[in-house]
């Protein structure tokens, strides 16, 4: 199938094969205005006044509304595209540079982060530290032995490496760990252990996630295996291997589930939804923003798919209105509900 307007025509609006067959061209002036609004609204610095002014503009003339609808239609194209692949395919070189930058930053980060206390007790690698993230923040850390830790939103850990163990206490939130092979100065390999309020998770050379929930812990393993031991039920000790996930409390553990690859998209600053309930999606999103965020039960069962950057949860919410019959109701910046359109 071919695109239209092959030669010498006023080819606007631009059409691709999946769009409606006949769309009338837009007045150039309206098209320019609509573009200017879009550029302002996605700038990351638009104010509430800007948004009100834009709404006023959009409602002032049916042609404005039609132009905006056209923009939203095209915007759907951009949903759910992995940034990494898009850049390598459409605009090479930028992202790779960025990745390098992030890598360079994580090394510096350890010294400059907020709430960071490093207390060196010996000149060797025996030290204690606190790391935490604020709401909406993700942070990557490299520990003394080379182990990589990515902290998700609102999380805190204590790192306690000594002669016999490499211990991380997860005080709140969620972390993703890629363990490094320990290089002992003397003899024994020190075990790598994560402790939650409910029990211990011992790594057996691996990539895994530990999340502290209210009264329970969640572990998902993506490579290698871990051994889980609830504090009050040592006999319930269980090995969870790659591709598996498990919830446990101090006394019991649930049945083993499969680990969801999408569930660790946050380590790349993304949230991935594949046909999940809007209600559940909003529950996940809530973790990444401050203030009240809720979803009207009338729309909670709608299904959401897409890949969304966590960087700006307001734009995630806004993009929901493109594909679902919902609108986002802002009472204030910190009081937001998703309602039926």
């Amino acid at each position: 199938m071919a695109t239209k307007n092959a030669v010498g025509s006023t080819a606007m609006p631009k059409q691709t094969t999946t769009f409606t067959e006949v769309e009338l061209p837009f007045n150039t002036h309206v098209a320019q205005q609509a573009s200017e609004w879009l550029v302002l609204l996605i700038s990351g610095t638009a104010t509430d006044d800007d948004r009100h002014a834009w709404e006023k503009w959009r409602n002032a003339d049916p042609e404005h509304g039609r132009a905006w609808h056209h923009i939203e239609n095209i915007n759907q194209r951009f949903q759910g595209i992995p940034t990494d692949i898009a850049f390598k395919t459409l605009a090479p070189n930028v992202l790779q540079n960025r990745r390098r930058l992030i890598k360079a930053l994580t090394i510096v980060l350890m010294a400059s982060g907020t709430g960071l206390i490093v207390r060196k007790t010996t000149p060797w690698c025996e030290w204690t530290a606190d790391y935490r993230t604020s709401t909406g923040e993700q942070r990557k850390l490299t520990l003394a032995d080379g182990t990589l830790v990515v902290l998700n939103t609102t999380s805190a850990i204590d790192v306690d490496y000594n002669d016999t163990t490499r211990l991380i206490q997860l005080r709140t939130g969620e972390m993703f760990i890629t363990t490094a092979q320990d290089k002992p100065a003397t003899t024994l390999m020190r075990p790598f252990v994560v402790e939650t309020a409910e029990g211990t998770v011992r790594a057996l050379g691996t990539r895994f996630v530990v999340r502290q929930e209210n009264g329970s812990s969640h572990v998902a393993v993506y490579e290698g295996a871990v051994e889980i031991e609830p504090f009050d039920a040592r006999d319930q000790k269980i090995v969870v291997s790659a591709g598996q996930a498990l919830n446990f409390t101090r006394q019991t553990r649930d049945t083993v589930l499969s680990a969801d690859e999408n569930a660790i998209a946050w380590t790349e600053g993304m949230i991935v939804a594949e046909k999940i309930r809007l209600g559940d999606f909003i529950d996940s999103l809530r973790r990444y923003r401050t203030g009240y965020l809720n979803c009207d039960p009338a729309v909670a069962n709608l299904l959401v798919s897409g890949v969304f950057p966590l960087k700006n949860t307001d734009s995630v919410l806004a993009s929901l209105t493109d594909s679902l019959p919902v609108s986002i109701h802002y009472r204030t910046r910190f009081w937001v509900t998703v309602v039926h359109k």
């Binding site: 030669v7 606007m12 609006p13 631009k14 098209a31 320019q32 951009f78 395919t89 605009a91």
Partner: protein, 168 residues
């Protein structure tokens, strides 16, 4: 002005008078006969669905323009496919998308590439960083090594091009 009847008549005369010439033109351009016949076929198909017929004054120049566009589009598509496969190959295995999703993704990327047609690379990058990564213009400015006001200009240009095919 142009009824269905005259359109089909025009197509017919266009085809019978110039089809062989177009195949020859394409053969010279592409170097293979088989592709030339395919592209000629696509060219007429494109014209049949485009309804621009009534204003054709220079039929061969017109055919050459349409066919040339299709050939360029074809090569661009192949280039994107290759870049896409390279990008996939560089992913760690667990992140590789399913074949079905992969095919959809490729089509979407090609569509976006067409929307961003002719934009300078930095404008393209600025636009993608804003749309896919949700970066603020200050962050984009930093990454591209340009000023924030430059990013705004890129964004405006990209937006007008992508959504309304307006070129500045």
């Amino acid at each position: 002005m142009s009824t269905a009847n005259t359109i089909s008549q025009e197509i017919e005369s266009l085809y019978s008078n110039h089809h062989n010439w177009l195949c020859g033109w394409l053969r010279k351009k592409l170097g293979t006969n088989c592709d030339a016949v395919d592209f000629a076929h696509d060219t007429f198909l494109r014209i049949l669905t485009s309804r621009d017929l009534f204003c054709i004054r220079e039929p061969r120049a017109y055919l050459a323009t349409v066919a040339g566009g299709l050939v360029a589009h074809h090569y661009r598509r192949r280039a994107i496919e290759k870049a896409y496969l390279d990008a996939l190959a560089s992913l760690p295995e667990p992140e590789t998308p399913s074949p079905e999703y992969s095919a959809i993704l490729l089509e979407t990327l090609i569509e976006i590439d067409q929307l961003l047609d002719n934009l300078p690379l930095k404008a393209r990058r600025a636009f993608l960083l804003a749309q896919l990564e949700g970066l603020t213009y200050a962050e984009i400015a930093q990454q591209l090594g340009v000023s924030v006001s430059m990013v705004k200009q890129y964004m405006l240009r990209a937006t007008q091009q992508c959504y309304f095919s307006l070129s500045l």
